[in-house]
Structures are given as C-alpha cells and as structure tokens.
Amino acid sequence: MTVKNVIIILSLTIFIGCATTITKGEAFPKMYEEKPLSILVLPPINESTSPDAKEYYSTTIAEPLSFAGYYVFPIEIVNEVLKQEGIYDTELIVDLDASKFKEYFGADAVLFTRIIEWNTSYYVVGGNVKVHIAFDLVSTNTGELLWSYNGKLTVDTTGDGNNIGGAAGLLLQLAETAVKTAAQDYTPLAKKVNTTVLTTIPFGVYHAQHGTDQSFTGVNMKNVNK
C-alpha cells in the first residue's frame, strides 16, 4: 500500500467520522453559556396510540436525569400541581412563555418530552415493540432551546415456531409472537432510550465532570430535533 493510499483512506475515515457525529460543545453551546442547575420535567406529550404511555413514562426519567448532574423537581408533585391548575396536558402549554416556569417553580430549564411511539405492531407472521422519545430542553431565562435529542428502540418479538415447518410451525410461530409481544414491557425500553439519549446532554453541576465535557463526541446530528 502506498503512502498516498493510506492518506486517502485516513482522510476518508476522518470525513465519515465528522459527517455523522459532533461534540457536545459544538452541538449545544447554549448549555455551556447558561449552565442551568435545575430542570422541571413537564408531563410527556403523548403522540403514541397507547393512553397509558404518559403515566408510565413519567416513572423512568428522574433517575437518569439526576445522574446527568441536574436537580430534577419532584415529578409526582409537579404533576399534581399542574393537574390542580388544569394544565396537566403539556400540549396546551407548549406555547406558554417559558419564563412562567421560572416564576412559579424557580426552574432554570423545562424539559418537554414527546412520546412519538410506544406501540406494538404485528405483521404477517411477526411482531415488534417500539419506543421512540424526543426531548427538548428550553431555558426559562431566554426561552431558547438549550438541548434537544431523540432516541428510538425496537425489539423484535417474532416467535421462531421451534423451526417446525408447514402450517403447524406457522401457527406456533403466530402464537409465540403474540405471547412474546404481549409480555414485552415498555418501561425497560424507555429506560434504555433515556440512558442513550442522555449521554449527549452536557453534565450538570452535580456531576463531577460539569463544565469539562465540551469535547465529548457522540452527538449524532440526525438525532437532534429540528
């Protein structure tokens, strides 16, 4: 292999590498300027066909967000307060001036979550379970978007029919698919999505690496919400 070839391959590698992922500092500079301490998680906006998704998803987000170094307002209490105020449906307050959350809760930022998919699908002989969540963190000081990302996970729940051929095998496969799909819980998938997505949020003040993670790579521009 000539030196020229090596250089071409190396520059290709660099090019491909740069095209897909960038650093936290490049992707979310406003996070490093504002340094929010506390995050108010609003009730999720549920765009999926599963009515339970909103309540169930709420149980998964406080823990990983705390590990990213943020103070997370107690979600259960916040939800109750919002219910009492008649604004539990985040869809209704998405256009509200974000500074209201500073005024009423003392929060530095609000996190909007959208459950895009929380669904089971069956196709001819198989099935799968999908969870897709989008996150938008908005400053209560400026109303600007500080961080945004989305993540999706699909688990194939197709039965294998024990490799029996013919109609008997197909029936067995259908039955297995139904059982596996029904038994697949959504929350473990949601937790994995949370963990993956939150690797891209700049660390908050309670994290040991707060303010020093600008050069962390792995932010995929395709997953930054438009």
């Binding site: 149980t59 406080a62 823990e63 259960e76 309670y206």
Partner: protein, 119 residues
C-alpha cells in the same frame, strides 16, 4: 519517610480515580410504576417504604439523597395528613437542594392555608 509519602500519594491517586456512585435510587422507578399501574393503599405503602429505604441507604453510605426523594416522601405524608413528618422531609429537600426552595416554600404555604381552612 520517603516511601511512606510515595505510598500515600499512590493511595490518593487510586482513591481519586475510583468513580464515585452519585446516587442510590434503589427500586424507585419500578415501585412508582406499580403505583401507577395499580394505585392501592398497598402499592403506595410499598412505595413509601422504598423512599424511606433510599434515604436510609444514602445516609449510611454518605451519598447525597437523590433529587425529589425527600420531597416525594414529604408529599405522601402531606396527603396522609401527617403534617409534622411532611415538614421534616420537605425541609430536608430544601436544605439538600437550595434550587428547590421556592417550589417547596410554595407547597408549604399552600399547606398552611389548607390547615387554616380546615380549622
């Protein structure tokens, strides 16, 4: 003396490099999930025990109590009209996380107004 210094430095280095666990969350999310799925006095009681356990274990291991845990426990006591206990935990949230001061003060304000109305 020189050797001791080197050994001490070495120990310091190892301790410094060991990643520290930030929080102990126990089985919080599963226990809350069970309350959401089937809200009964039993599931709520189990969740309350889980919250207490997180607080105790965090204290034993010298970890900061995770955000919201003290407040959530205080809120459950509040709903159960055990106001003294509620105050203890809500105030604990405030002292652990000063960012929560406004939020908790407003809750306590509502509580005292509620008590006046009751009385």
């Amino acid at each position: 003396m020189k050797n001791t210094t080197i050994i001490l430095l070495f120990i310091l280095l190892i301790v410094g490099c060991t990643p520290q666990t930030m929080y102990y969350w126990g089985d919080y999310s599963n226990s809350l999930y069970k309350v959401k799925k089937d809200a009964t006095p039993e599931t709520l009681d189990k969740h309350k025990i889980e919250l207490l356990d997180i607080i105790n274990k965090s204290n034993e291991t010298g970890l900061r109590i995770p955000p919201g845990i003290n407040a959530e426990l205080g809120y459950i006591y509040l709903l159960q009209e055990q106001y003294d206990q509620a105050m203890v935990y809500l105030n604990e949230e405030k002292s652990t996380y000063p960012e929560s001061t406004k939020f908790i003060d407003d809750l306590l304000q509502n509580l005292s107004e509620g008590e006046e109305n009751d009385g």
